[in-house]
Each structure stands twice: as C-alpha cells, then as structure tokens.
C-alpha cells in the first residue's frame, strides 16, 4: 500500500469478519481521532450467520434488506452494515447487535444515540470501507484504481476550471489516475457534509498530488482551512488496486480519548435521566 496521507490520519486497517483484533482500530481512534478500516465482500458477506443472527445484527435495516430483490446487492448491503456495526462496536466497546443505524436525507448513515462518533461507508467491487471519527464529520470513498473515468466532456461535469487546466497539462496516461483520485476526494468530502452529489463537483476542487490537501474554490484558491483533513490511499486487495480517499472535519470540540459507550453519555443528560427515573419510581 502506498499513501499520500496527511499525518492527521492513519492508514486503513484491514479487518476480517471473525477473529479480528480491533486494538489497532481503537489505537488509531486514540491517536488520530479517526480510524479507517476495510474488509472484503467475500469475507463479510453474511452467509455464515443464521437468519436470526443476521436479523438481530441488521436491526431496523432488516426490512430494507428483505426488500432488495437482487442477491448480490442484498449481500453487499448486509456485509457493509456488518462491517460498519462491527467497527463502531469495537470503537465503543459494545456489541455490534446493539448498534443502530439511522440515515439522513441523502442516505448518509449515523449511529443512533452515539453522536460522539461519526461514521461513513463506501463499497465498490470486493472492497468494503468504513471510517470512524470522534473529531466531527467523516466521509470515505473507494474506486477501482484503474476505473476509466477520464474523457473529454466528463471532466466538465466533475472538475473545477482550475482542475481541468491541471488535467490538461498532464501526460495523457496520467489524466485518468488523477481524475479517479479527484473523484474519490470529492465523493468523500460530499459524504462527510451529507450532500452526496447534490453539492456540484464543479463547485469545489482539490490540488494536485504530493501537496497537503485542501478544498479549493473553482479558481483554485483555498476554500477551507485546517479544520479539514484529506488523504488518499492506494490499497492492494487480492489482485486488485483501489483508490480510497477520506475527508475528516474537525469540529473543534477537542479530542475524545475514551470512546466506551458507557462513558460517552453526556454527564448532565445521564444525571437528568437518573433523576427522571427516580421520580418515576417514587
């Protein structure tokens, strides 16, 4: 794996569906406030789970899972939620079946009742990718590194004028890899802010490889400050190379070093709850 990651983000951690030691994920959360984990569809697909166990794991997603007619999509849906809930549970020192997902208007997932940790999910081909952060917001996106995206005309729908100029100056064989990287960065950023593609990709851009990453305005001038951290990674999974980008927003609320679910309850809220329960008991 090679990486152009910034120091504020660690490198993605490979995890298996069984027998995984999640210490590295928890260590990244403590060190960076962010952890990126990945697995394969083949490993995380739920074929080894009994129906009752899968239903318990998916929780409110079970109905949606049952509604999916296409078997491959159903498996991918279940596998990605299995990885997402397992990673979140590991971070929170909880059980995956106790993790409940809810979704925003654009389909962005959240951990219900655990808003101290933000989550994100991406899957393509055989790769499943999950991001966790205690800093604020996170988005990840993955694509096959050799996916053909670049073509004259398509860059107009994806890139800012500044990015198109940069692409045009590259050797032809370098344009598609650059555009795949830009695409994953834009998808990751859009996921982090919960906009999907509603926020047009031509309205914000990123700089070239090899420099600290930042969000740019369409003319290439900086559009955001140090509160955002971005990184791109190239993962070899099996015989396939994936381009993966992550975007993390630091809300400036300070670091959370103890992410245990029992210690992340807001103290005042917990006290109010205890008082209400006591009053009800009396």
């Amino acid at each position: 794996m090679n990486t152009s990651a910034q120091a504020s983000l660690g490198v993605p951690v490979a995890v298996g569906a069984t027998g995984t030691d999640w210490d590295a994920v928890r260590a990244d959360l403590r060190r960076y406030g962010t952890a990126l984990v990945y697995g394969t569809l083949a490993d995380w697909r739920p074929g080894d789970l009994a129906p009752d166990a899968l239903r318990a794991l998916l929780g409110r997603d079970w109905a949606r899972y049952c509604d999916i007619a296409h078997e491959d999509i159903r498996d991918r849906y279940a596998a990605s939620r299995r990885l997402l809930k397992s990673a979140a549970a590991a971070a929170l020192h909880a059980d995956a079946v106790d993790m409940e997902l809810t979704y925003g208007p654009t389909g962005r997932p959240y951990l219900r009742g655990c808003d101290q940790i933000d989550i994100t999910l991406s899957h393509t081909d055989d790769l499943l990718m999950v991001g966790l952060t205690t800093r604020g917001l996170i988005g990840v996106d993955a694509e096959l590194a050799d996916r053909r995206i670049y073509s004259k005309g398509l860059d107009r729908l994806i890139c800012t004028p500044h990015e198109r100029l940069g692409l045009g100056e590259l050797a032809p064989e370098e344009r598609n890899p650059r555009l795949v990287r830009l695409w994953t960065l834009k998808e990751a950023y859009s996921k982090a802010i919960g906009q999907g593609m509603q926020f047009r990709f031509t309205e914000f851009g990123f700089g070239p490889d090899g420099r600290p990453l930042q969000v740019n305005r369409p003319d290439g001038t900086p559009g955001a400050g140090a509160e955002w951290a971005f990184a791109t990674y190239y993962l070899d999974v099996g015989d396939t190379e994936f381009c993966v980008s992550a975007a993390v927003y630091d809300a400036g609320l300070g670091r959370t070093f103890d992410t245990g679910i029992t210690t992340m309850l807001d103290a005042e809220a917990a006290e109010a709850l205890a008082l209400a329960l006591a009053a009800a008991a009396n």
């Binding site: 296409h70 999509i73 729908l157």
Partner: protein
C-alpha cells in the same frame, strides 16, 4: 434517427445505456430504485449526461437529474431537458 429521437422512449434509452455504458437493464430494473441496481453508480450517471449533451448539443441540468431515484426518472428528466416529453 437522432439520439434524441432514439431515446425518446424508455426502451431506446435503455439501448443507449447498454451500448454506451455496457449495462444491460430491463424495463423492470429501470423502474427500480437506483440503489437496487448491481452495477449503477454516479459515474455512470455523469457519463450518460455527458453523452446526451454531446449528441444533442444541449446542456442537461445535472442537479435535477440527481434528484431522480430510478433510470425511468432519469429518462424523464433527460427527455424533458432536451425539449421533448417521455413517450
């Protein structure tokens, strides 16, 4: 026959998707939610918009196409944007 005429009905639109994007979709799949299509993603959507823009010489409002939740809805947006109505 122009691309606009060829894609004015949904079957012609699906032919275009098959020929240009390599995705063979049935009418039933065209009516399904995009999330339920095995191979569809946003890159395909942008490639489709680009292709139609190049062939028709008209700009497709990407923001409205992004609201679509099925291929059939994308078709309706594209045809309306290109100056026709879905058949």
């Amino acid at each position: 026959m122009s691309l606009l005429e060829r894609t004015a009905d949904l079957l012609g639109f699906l032919d275009l998707i098959r020929d240009e994007l390599g995705l063979d979709l049935s009418v039933q799949e065209a009516e399904a939610d995009l999330d339920a299509l095995p191979a569809w993603d946003s890159v395909h959507l942008l490639r489709l918009v680009m292709l139609i823009e190049q062939e028709t010489g008209r700009r497709i409002p990407v923001a409205s196409v992004l609201q679509a939740r099925s291929i059939a809805q994308i078709h309706a947006h594209v045809v309306a944007s290109a100056g026709g109505g879905p058949r």
